[in-house]
Symmetry: C2
Subunit: 320 residues, 2 copies
């Protein structure tokens, strides 16, 4: 170790403060933790929480559009399923979590919100390394709605690059447990930026297309839709596309999709709670078909947003 | 969503606090963040930091034993290597980080300490999803030294189970970037607990032995040492075993190790900054050889601890 003046003279050790002075800014929103509703600036996790040190956590995100939650029940199903698989317990049932999410949104005032519920392993009072001794910690927050694609990208379609990074396989992490293990996706994103694309798709272990950072992918060929079957998050928006196809008499299936098949598709789109159904018009610098947003994609996008005030698909926030 | 009384009557929405009242306890120690030295209770990460939401972070841990850092230079090498691979930048060079780590330990007063340096992607001031716009955040902390194995386990050897969970492969996450992607290891640990073992080993993608939660594994057969070659963290304690073997004229190699070969070994031990060299005497309920800590393991354990006051391998903390 290189010695410095401070270490040569112990008397010159820096002072220890009582309380962190936080120089960062935070978006408007409301968080819930430890029984308290707080501004986003207060929504923090200890560095000693295994949810940070081991990414030992699960979560789900639901969105609010025009003052209504969209398909909240499906997100609650997935969140409670993840908790069970990770053997985590929280002191709230589904109704309790739904009430907390509602309160976060109502208190935030956001009419369009990105709403997250999460549970970390926590830490044990004795700081044992045994996760069974940790007290699991539930948190939730509501911030302004955000989208993978901006307004221009939604109009003309996203430009995507396919990275050779491989999505963490199900033998390592069960993708049905929604998790924060994203370094493969983040590195894929940097690969895409290096190739002047706007976002990335990465591969499954057989070299087929898997998913991108926060989204599933679909292609349309000869009027039939398909989306990768294995090793991908079972996205709620992905499922919503299947539901919409059922209503519209369109054929959709989960299957292996090769890189070549994706590039040869008539239409490509991605799906995410953060933006819904979003068109892709270029992959690896080449246009998909004529390079324009296709008719099936446009039709599904319109249907998707139309469902947002349907009482079977959405539920109202009661703002103060 | 199930409506509750609180949501039926907006006037009954809960109050929003100004500041989080933290009911949790924290271990004694000192953290550095945002230019401030603080008690561990103040060492927190925003839930909106990509280091939490995407586990987009790298770190390293070094230990202090009897008031001296052990092989700090190697840990700094690996940390700065990880930063470069993740395209993160911090406002400190090696000497600057070394000084911060030193100060955390000296201010904590711990003579035996577990010292972590970490960098998260951070967040962008506009909360863009583009990680290139995020401001990376460096933190460090020193808490009391902890070990994978307790005193009894060090004496009689750990009891390990081999889980069928597969360590996240290098095609997904480069293991040379020390990272918090641990859910595979955590789930392996629960598999081990279910089988009355104390810790776990998980597999590589070919079904060979990979590593455990926070440690590498070695076996000794006919006087020769081997440790898994691929898909494992290049641990500093693992490397130290190779260095000690070189000094002692022992043969050690990195190679594929099947589950059968591990169980048929003369001796098995694990290596971690959190505990050093630690014997394993039972795997999946069966004894390794005669079920006692073996002579090569004991010899390496003694040598390992003896190096802790050697000036070429360690450097002093100057306590106030």
């Amino acid at each position: 170790m290189t010695r410095t003046k401070a270490t040569e003279d112990p008397a010159r050790l820096p002072l220890v403060g009582d309380r962190h002075v936080d120089p960062h800014s935070y978006p408007d929103g409301i968080a819930f933790l430890d029984g308290q509703y707080l501004p986003m600036s207060q929504a923090k996790v200890s560095v000693l929480d295994w949810g940070f040190l081991h990414s030992d956590a699960t979560y789900d995100t639901v969105h609010v559009w025009d003052g209504r939650f969209f398909r909240l029940d499906l997100h609650l199903d997935r969140f409670f399923g993840g908790l069970e698989k990770l053997r985590m317990t929280i002191p709230f049932d589904r109704e309790g979590v739904a009430e907390i999410l509602h309160n976060c949104v109502a208190l935030s005032g956001h009419r369009a919100a990105y709403v997250e519920m999460l549970c970390t392993r926590g830490a044990s009072p004795t700081f044992s390394r045994d996760p069974r001794q940790a007290i699991n910690r539930f948190m939730a927050f509501a911030v302004q709605f955000g989208s993978v694609a901006n307004a221009e990208q939604l109009r003309r379609g996203l430009h995507v690059a396919i990275s050779d990074k491989v999505r963490i396989p199900p033998a390592s992490i069960d993708p049905a447990i929604k998790n924060y293990h994203w370094l493969d996706l983040v590195r894929g994103l940097y690969d895409a930026y290096d190739r002047d694309a706007e976002t990335a798709l990465i591969l499954d272990f057989n070299g087929n297309v898997a998913e991108g950072p926060g989204f599933n992918v679909f292609c349309v060929k000869d009027g039939r839709l398909s989306t990768p079957a294995i090793g991908v998050l079972p996205g709620i928006t992905r499922r919503t596309v299947f539901d919409l196809c059922g209503e519209e008499g369109l054929t959709a299936e989960a299957a292996d999709i090769s890189v070549a098949a994706l590039k040869a598709a008539d239409e490509v789109f991605i799906t995410s709670t953060a933006g819904g159904i979003m068109p892709v018009t270029r992959i690896d610098g080449a246009a998909i078909a004529d390079g324009k947003v296709g008719p099936v994609t446009s039709r599904l996008m319109a249907l998707y947003w139309r469902k947002h005030d349907h009482p079977a698909w959405s539920s109202p926030v009661k703002y103060p």
